[in-house]
């Protein structure tokens, strides 16, 4: 899937280009005449209106809801919250890295030219192409200790009594959630990294071949240095997306057993709507800000100062 080529050549982020490049001859820049300036403003107003009404206002409202410091001390003394914070950290550390590293390796595998690898790629992206809900519900049922496919298969093939994956142990359940998340999202990042690999000029590999670099050396000396920036940006983006991932946890484990596998995103919704404490829910989510804000700043800088080619 040559993503980079799909829309006509190298895709770059125009707003992210260096200022030198942007200072090319342009018709309108700087000298928009009176009525043209009005038009330009009129064209941008709809988006600004959406941004103000549905982003700025909710964010401000959220900050206002979660303004009371007492909420945070309440959270700190709540064992469910503390456990969810730990879960979130594990979810991010294990989930994101396994997923991204797997995607990096598999993108190399999908560079192979065999026909069956190409067909396999089409199947492999299915989890990503499908809506999240059906698959996560299916996984939830598949992991049912009594009637699920996994334990049925374990019994039929090896006469092993499988555990109650989601019902008995926090670690089994959390592991299942992380595996489901990887199942759903690794294909997406594989496709991105595959596009990145395809953008590496073939001559570099030929030169490396000439110098006798093969296998691992090809990877460490050619592929990885060129892919490193993309890999980093993707990892950061994926960290933020994973932090906000609601569906995996909500539908696979639902926080069970005994509310031990919630993450901040699902606990926030639970506190706001099931416990009916919107302020506490907002505070739960806001407590992720110390992690979110540096991530966002680094990511926005990274996207603005480097030309990310995807």
């Amino acid at each position: 899937m040559d993503g980079a080529q799909a829309l006509g050549g190298k895709a770059t982020f125009p707003i992210l280009e260096s200022p030198v490049k942007r200072r090319r001859r342009s018709t309108w820049r700087g000298h928009l005449q009176g009525s043209e300036y009005t038009w330009a403003v009129a064209f941008i107003v709809p988006y600004v209106a959406v941004f103000l009404a549905f982003v700025v206002y909710p964010v401000a409202y959220g900050v206002w809801l979660g303004r009371d410091p007492g909420l945070y001390s309440e959270l700190m003394s709540d064992p469910i919250y503390l456990r969810s914070a730990v879960n979130t950290a594990i979810y991010l550390a294990v989930g994101v890295n396994l997923k991204m590293f797997g995607a990096l390796l598999l993108s190399g595998f999908f560079m192979r030219k065999d026909w069956w690898v190409r067909v396999l790629l089409l199947v492999y992206v299915l989890p990503w192409a499908m809506p999240a809900l059906p698959s996560f519900m299916s996984i939830h049922w598949m992991l049912n200790g009594q009637w699920g496919l996994i334990n049925n298969a374990l019994w039929d093939l090896f006469s092993i009594d499988g555990p109650g994956w989601l019902e008995t142990s926090r670690w089994l359940a959390l592991g299942s959630v992380i595996a489901s998340h990887i199942w759903k999202w690794m294909p997406f990042w594989t496709v991105i990294l595959l596009a990145g690999r395809l953008a590496i000029p073939q001559e570099l590999y030929e030169a490396a071949d000439m110098d006798g670099a093969t296998g691992v050396k090809r990877f460490t000396h050619v592929t990885f240095p060129l892919l490193a920036n993309l890999y980093l940006v993707c990892t950061l983006l994926s960290t933020i997306f994973t932090l906000g991932d609601f569906n995996s946890v909500y539908f696979v484990s639902g926080g069970a057993p005994a509310l031990s596998t919630h993450v901040l995103a699902t606990l926030g919704i639970r506190n706001a709507f099931e416990v009916a404490r919107p302020d506490l829910g907002v505070a739960t989510v806001m407590s992720a800000m110390p992690l979110m804000i540096p991530l966002v700043i680094v990511l926005m800088r990274k996207l603005r100062t480097t030309e990310v080619q995807l």
């Binding site: 330009a40 959406v50 999240a132 809900l133 049925n152 997306f241 906000g244 919704i269 907002v282």
Partner: protein, 296 residues
Amino acid sequence: MSTVALGGPAAHRRRNYRLRRGLGEAVALALGALILFWTLMPIYNIINVALESRGDVFTTTIWPANPSVESFWIVFTQGYWYLEYFWHQFGNSLYIGVATVVITLMIGSLASFSIGRMRLKQGWLVSNAALLTYVIPASFLAIPFYRIMHIYGLSNNLWSVIAAEVTFATPYAIFIFQQYGVTIPIELDEAARIDGASPLQIYLRIYLPLMAPALVAVGTYALLLAWNEYLYQFLLLSSKKSMTVPVALAQFLNSDEAPWNYMMATAIVYALPPVAIYYVFRRRMTAGLAMGGVKG
């Protein structure tokens, strides 16, 4: 090792090479089989359960003992009380999807025209605002968003969901449009401008037609985003008649003994349209993908 001595060093190398290649092939095939197994297991489970009859669901077989399409029939005829309004809900999902596409394309293309082509001086501010929206997880905004929709008087209204989906789809639209817009020569605008065309005319007659591929890509993205999204639809839509398919699907989980075969049949009917659309527009969709991890 004794055979090596017979062949000499060249034959040795060749043999070694062939052996390594054969081994590589075998490893690749094994990895391929593993990927196939890993990917298809949950999907096999959906199909398996959907084909089972009511009694088979709670058995320990790993394939349907008496496969039947009864569950699909129940879904199509709305023959179960959770599925009472299935086609109506399907229509709601479609309505939200189409409205999201149209509005996202309109707002996104206008904004990108103003920023990228007319080069409005304050455009970078808007670009950054869009980038920021893109990296805020949607689920973190859900609680205040829900309250605000009540303030706007849009509770239990399809338009509240459309507003949410448009909010999260437009930033992506703006990026892709700007990205793609760079490939259209600015001289075209210049020429039209000299001929006395107004910015609106340039936007309609030059910009939009030339942007068609990007419009298709972003339109597909917005459609899938709106169709697949769950959290906002769940929070904002409460009555059976205003629900969308994913919300109705999750409703099944509320009953004590969920009819899993009906649920999985519903899931298949729900998943087929986006999967079909994905594979049809796959090549276009992958444009600038890193920005397009379908959120939710």
